[in-house]
């Protein structure tokens, strides 16, 4: 496990400033959510953390023993499964062996689908496979880029349970980008609101697990939502 340290991070695409002056320290093993309107830079921030985009200014560091980029995995909004590989082989990519792949598939409850082609699965099942693929290599950091955005409400709740359970079991450092405030409060211990490329709110979520959608939950939701909507 390792954490992530961002100092004065800025990112621009041409004249377009997408991220500015971001100071964030993400401790190892924590679960952080990043929310904000679309176009606020949250996906870009995730890509910067993953090393898919270079920072234009400031610095990004991975903190902890044996921290390296190759132990970061991303779960994307689209499943990005390889259509020409069966489910098990899709999980066993990038040097993951078959045994680990099967264990990961078991964890997401799809062991009987291991020989299927991706297009034979439903959207929710494909995202489960994508989650299994992310977990199979026992990553230190797992980045979620709106992974549940394209799923229906019931499947989404299922997946949230699954993600929470797996995180509690393995405690990889998690960063979740989402536009769903309720999902952020449900899963994360800390919610960061991004607005026009900068941090607008950094909110600890002090709730026990599993989380009930009670008054305290709702007040967190409201506080965060007000920050996002309230310009």
């Amino acid at each position: 496990m390792f954490g992530i340290e961002l100092k004065n991070v800025g990112k621009r695409f041409g004249a377009n400033e997408v991220l500015r002056d971001i100071d964030l320290s993400i401790p190892k093993g924590s679960f952080t959510a990043i929310v904000g309107k679309s176009g606020c830079g949250k996906s870009t921030l995730l890509r910067v953390i993953a090393g898919l985009e270079e920072v234009t200014s400031g610095s990004l560091a991975y903190t902890g023993a044996e921290a390296k980029k190759s132990n970061i995995r991303i779960m994307f909004q689209d499943d990005r499964l390889l259509p020409w590989k069966n489910i098990l082989k899709n999980i066993a990519i990038g040097g993951v062996n078959k045994v680990d792949a099967e264990i990961a598939l078991e964890k997401v409850g799809l062991r009987d689908k291991k020989g299927d082609w991706p297009d034979e699965l439903s959207g929710g099942q494909k995202q489960r496979v994508a989650l299994a693929r992310a977990l199979a290599s026992s990553p230190d950091v797992l980045l979620f880029d709106e992974p549940l955005g394209a799923l229906d409400a019931l499947t989404r709740m299922d997946m949230q349970h699954l993600m929470e359970g797996l995180w509690q079991e393995q405690h990889f450092t998690s960063i979740l980008v989402t536009h769903d405030v309720s999902e952020a409060v449900y899963l994360a211990d800390r919610v960061i609101v991004l607005d026009e490329g900068g941090v607008k709110l950094d909110q600890e979520i002090d709730l026990g697990r599993p989380r009930e959608r009670d008054d305290k939950f709702t007040s967190y939701e409201k506080k965060i939502l007000d920050q996002i909507v309230g310009g």
Binding site: I74, F76, D78, W84, W117
Partner: protein
């Protein structure tokens, strides 16, 4: 004569495909009902597409027998079969078919390999694309059969001339389709592969090549057609063996049955190579629901 011919046809149907015909009739009766499922329509029978060609051949035979089509214009199917039988017995048929097939395979292999490698490198290395692609696109617009006079001057009428023509014809469709296939591989999948720790070689074998495979196979199927066209022309213009040579000499002696036979031979070989390509497609693309057989 007609009646013999019909007898043969009926016998053939009864022995070779009696079951199929019975099934067809049964299906026809069955699907009259309300439970008409798309799969069970009577014309979904495997034999149905063969009905039209069979009728045409029978009609051709009948018209020829009646003298409505002159034998000197177009020999009947049975005469063509007879000519084939005679040539087979002397061993000439096999010899010429073998030589033509050999030329086709060697030419296809050489042209295909060059086209594939060029497509591969130009599709993956931007420097090479900038350097080479425009030139290839320029040369590609020349009909390769226009090179025949030049080719004959270069290579004479030996084997290399024919193989060269086939190779040139095959190279471009394979190049273009490989190149486009690689260029159009979903970038998101490549990005995923990078995040998931794939090496460059793994990216190529796991993502780029399989992603480009549908296009490459389209190129191969198209190139197979070009192979036979190039060969027919090349063999007709100058050759001392091969199906085209057979046709040219037959023409000189007005042996219409052999001329038609060579056309049929080209058709069979063309169809056969397309069939092989189709089987490859079904095997390599079985992940794609469009190619998956249930």
């Amino acid at each position: 004569m007609q009646s013999i011919c019909l007898h043969i046809f009926v016998d053939l149907i009864e022995t070779e495909c009696g079951d199929e015909i019975q099934k067809l009739i049964k299906k026809f009766i069955h699907t009259k009902g309300a439970e008409r499922v798309k799969k069970d329509k009577w014309y979904n029978n495997q034999l149905f597409p063969w009905l039209l060609p069979i009728v045409v051949v029978l009609l051709w035979q009948v018209l020829g027998d009646r003298g409505l089509i002159k034998s000197t214009m177009l020999p009947t199917p049975l005469e063509v079969v007879e000519a084939g039988k005679n040539l087979f017995q002397t061993g000439e048929l096999q010899k010429h078919v073998y030589i033509s097939t050999e030329r086709a395979i060697i030419g296809f292999f050489i042209g295909g390999t060059i086209g594939f490698l060029l497509g591969l490198f130009n599709g993956t290395v931007l420097f090479l694309e900038k350097l080479i692609d425009t030139s290839i696109q320029m040369i590609r617009t020349i009909p390769h059969l226009a090179l025949i006079p030049l080719v004959i001057l270069w290579f004479g009428i030996g084997e290399s001339a024919k193989i060269f023509l086939v190779a040139v014809g095959v190279m471009f469709p394979i190049y273009i389709n490989t190149f486009n296939g690689i260029k159009n591989v979903d970038y998101k999948l490549i990005e995923m592969g990078k995040v998931y720790g794939m090496s460059k070689w793994q990216l190529f074998t796991n993502i780029i090549l399989p992603g480009a495979m549908p296009n490459i196979l389209v190129g191969i199927r198209y190139a197979l057609g070009v192979t036979w066209i190039s060969l027919i022309v090349a063999e007709t213009i100058g050759a001392d063996a091969g199906i085209g040579y057979l046709a040219t000499t037959a023409r000189e002696f007005m042996q219409m049955d052999i001329v038609v036979l060579t056309i049929v031979l080209y058709a069979i070989l063309g169809k056969l190579s397309d069939f092989i390509a189709k089987v490859c497609e079904q095997r390599l693309l079985k992940w794609n629901p469009a190619y998956r057989k249930n």
